[in-house]
Amino acid sequence: MTDSAQSSLAETRAAAQPDLKTRVAKRLKSRHAAELRFRAYGILAVSIAVLFLGILLERIIHQGYTAFVTHSITTEVYLDPNRIDPTDIMGANYDQMITEQVMAKMGVNDDEYGTTSGEYKEILSPDLGFKALEALRDNPKLLGQKISLTSPIAANADLYYKGEITRDIVEADRNVSDQQMVWMDALKTKGLVTSHFNTYLFTNTDSTQPELAGLLGAIMGSAMMLLVTAVLAIPIGVGAALFLEEFAPKNRWTALIEVNINNLAAVPSIVYGLLGLAVFINWLGMPRSSPLVGGVVLSLMALPTVIIATRSSLRAVPPSIREAALGIGASKTQAVFHHVLPLAMPGIMTGTIISLAHALGETAPLLMIGMISFVPGLPESVTSAASVLPVQIFIWENASERAFHERTAAAIIVLLVFMIIMNLAAILLRRRFERRW
């Protein structure tokens, strides 16, 4: 009985075994396939993220790199005493005078209504006229003499030279006529127009003329604003973090402050702009669109991140340091300021620089405090109206001229370079000074 039972059990096992084996093998196969699929989703997700960054950077560099090269026209200008009244040098039409001289040099004849010279003027820049006027104002003796002037060529002409406006486009759809293209080719072959690195982008301030518009004003504005932010946010943030981490008793009040700081870190940036508008501008009467107000608003915004970064690097300093200092008779304050804070400093600096880099790229709150206005000059002080890099990008992006598009992308590249420099500094600081305990 037992034998037969055993043998029958073995038989059933034997009968079941291949079935179970194949079932398990089959299931294992599908499980492994699921594993592979799951892993593929992960790789896909990561590649999508990397791909997005790639496309983003590629498009911006693609659109922006051309703005770093520009074309200038250099020409001899005869300050004709017949056309410039020495008693009223402001009254003369320099643009017309220079255009006619260039046309004469190039062998182009004007018609009697002046439409040809009008069209020719469009490919030169009004900057030539300003420069002639300036030269004459500085030195009235130049009247009747020849001077050599160099200035950036009109934005549309620049786009043509760069091949962004081509003859393939229907003439009505482009801002440059066929006739102007012929003239421009002639100017280039004669050597009056040369291409070079676009220094104007870094030495000029904002302008309504794309060829004259530069970033210097915005860079200065950003630098001033960042200075105000750093001066306010770093001491206050580090102070608050020291209090919460090292001194504060654990009670309801400090818990409230802590919840509060975590929430402030997640408040939308535009709300800080509303705060700045209501409190600093309308209530305290601080000057609109000034780097001072911008800096104050951004420092309030950067404060929570500075506090959080400082606290985590203070926490990383081992308690033994504090205990050793206290043990040899230092007071609590001395232990913190002489020992803990210096050891936490690299971490604090890293966190601070990263949050300042974020502040550098912030736009929305600055629009609220009126920074959207057109500022043609350099800001004189922290209380005068200024533009900053991200807002300049926003303003240029809204401009209708095509030449502003490449400048917008170029401004983005400049902004990204500044941010990368700051982030690299933070990384280097961390690599150089970080201590693991």
Partner: protein, 476 residues
């Protein structure tokens, strides 16, 4: 001038520090005892007393001087000015201020009685300005000297200078932490205050539940469309739509890359991918806005127009042929890209804090890695991940630049991703960046929207932080 005085004050305080320190040394040496505190603490003590009271006066002058001056100048309005409409009265005093401070006055010409009143007010403002400024300077000067003298007289070897200085230091640190509270209070009070003024002209119920949004208020009462519509439902719907699209992109991509990075990727790969995500997180939103408006928008439009060309004659095809650059989909997708690193890094932290023992247990039972993740790690991390998603939602709701640059201005109540919608933040920017009188309902509406935005994001953050905290406590 105030700046120079401040510099002088700093120099004076540094000198006080030196004097205080050397006095403490000399006194201790002459009495032949060791002082209670190090001499430097006496120096600090004197410097603090010479600096802080005087600096506070200067601070008050800079911040409130102008307001006090305006209040005094505007306390009695000349008869001629009283006859002006209220708007011009404000302009009158603005011009007075501009003339006194050397700013840009408006081009308004004042003549006759107004001219006399204007000159009178300018003279008055000048004298008030002088009095306040000189008074504050004198007070600064006296306080600096008095503070230094007081502190100097207390210096002695028995004096507990260190304890005193440390009390000042803790007071400073407490003040720093109070700034955080003050910021929150400032946000809440300013939003509430301006919103209350807005709700005096528009009822809160109409604002929250009205379906008609057209804030263009006419300048005069008799013009067409003089009463704007302030029903914010279309804005809420638009914000919601863009947020949902953004989360549809960010949640799966962010979560899967977090899973891959924390569970599968080799250390080498992590070292490469993490910085890429950090760069993506560091790109300013205005750059994403540019990307959306000039790259994603046109290519999406072309794609849908191309798609529409395959269904000629059908209403669907017609519709696709006519979609615009500024569809909700564009802003949503780009916002989703922006949120990927945010979701991914938060989820990464949370997945990493799931105890290794749970994974080991599951793997030892013969589960594959993906089964471990799906059946053990993710359920354990679920509360934390949902908290992270809520934080991302709050980010998406409050994001401004991408939608300002890539979404439209038409307030439509629709859930169609190919339609143009507008959001709360876009409207705040539009309402406040024009040139209009500050007190009009149009600008105040922006504060009503701001208050709603703040309340919603605050609620999301509080819930999310609560969840994440609870979750972390569970495994600590």
């Amino acid at each position: 001038m105030t700046g120079y005085l401040f510099l002088a004050l700093i120099v004076f305080s540094v000198a006080s520090f030196m004097f205080g320190r050397s006095l403490a040394r000399r006194k201790a040496a002459s009495q032949g005892v060791r002082g209670h505190s190090l001499p430097a603490f006496s120096g600090w003590f004197v410097a603090i007393w010479s600096f802080i009271p005087a600096a506070l006066i200067l601070f008050v002058l800079v911040v409130f001087g102008g307001r006090v001056e305006n209040a005094i100048v505007q306390s009695d309005v000349p008869a001629a000015v009283q006859q002006l409409p209220e708007l011009n009265q404000g302009l009158f005093f603005q011009d007075v201020r501009a003339t006194v401070n050397g700013g840009m006055a408006s081009t308004t010409v004042y003549d006759g009685e107004l001219k006399a009143a204007f000159d009178h007010k300018v003279a008055q403002a000048k004298s008030v300005d002088n009095t306040i400024t000189l008074g504050a300077y004198a007070l600064t000067f006296i306080l600096a000297l008095a503070g230094a003298a007081f502190a100097y007289s207390r210096v002695s070897p028995q004096f507990r200078a260190r304890n005193s200085v440390e009390r000042w230091v803790s007071a400073f640190l407490v003040a720093c932490s109070v700034v955080a509270i003050l910021t929150t209070l400032g946000i809440i009070l300013s939003l509430l205050w301006e919103s209350l003024r807005f709700f005096q002209s528009v009822s809160p119920l109409d604002f929250l539940f009205g379906t008609h949004w057209s804030p263009q208020i006419a300048m005069r009462a008799d013009q067409v469309g003089s009463s704007g519509g302030f029903g914010a439902v279309p804005l809420f719907v638009g914000t919601f739509l863009i947020m949902i699209i953004a989360m549809c992109v960010a949640a799966p991509v962010g979560l899967y890359s977090a899973i891959y990075l924390s569970e599968y990727a080799s250390p080498f790969m992590r070292a490469w991918i993490k910085p890429v995500l950090e760069i993506l997180a560091g790109v300013p939103t205005v750059v994403y806005g540019f990307f959306a408006a000039l790259v994603v928008g046109p290519s999406f439009r072309e794609f849908f127009n191309w798609l529409g060309a395959f269904m000629p004659g059908t209403p669907m095809g017609e519709y696709l042929m006519n979609v615009q650059n500024q569809m909700a989909l564009v802003a949503g997708v780009v916002m989703g890209i922006m949120l990927i690193p945010f979701v991914s890094s938060l989820s990464d932290d949370i997945i990493n804090s799931v105890p290794q023992s749970l994974r080991d247990g599951s793997l030892a039972m013969g589960a594959t890695r993906s089964e471990t993740i799906k059946k053990v790690v993710l359920p354990a991390a679920l509360p934390g991940i949902s908290g992270a998603m809520l934080l991302a939602v709050s980010r998406a709701v409050g994001e401004t630049m991408i939608v300002t640059m890539a979404a439209g201005l038409q307030a439509k109540t629709t859930l169609n991703p190919l339609d143009t919608v507008t959001t709360v933040t876009v409207q705040i920017v539009t309402l406040l960046t024009g040139d209009q009188e500050f007190d009009s309902p149009k600008t105040l509406a922006a504060f009503g929207l701001g208050l709603t935005l703040f309340a919603v994001t605050l609620a999301l953050n509080l819930i999310a932080q609560r969840i994440v905290q609870k979750y972390q406590e569970q495994y600590d």
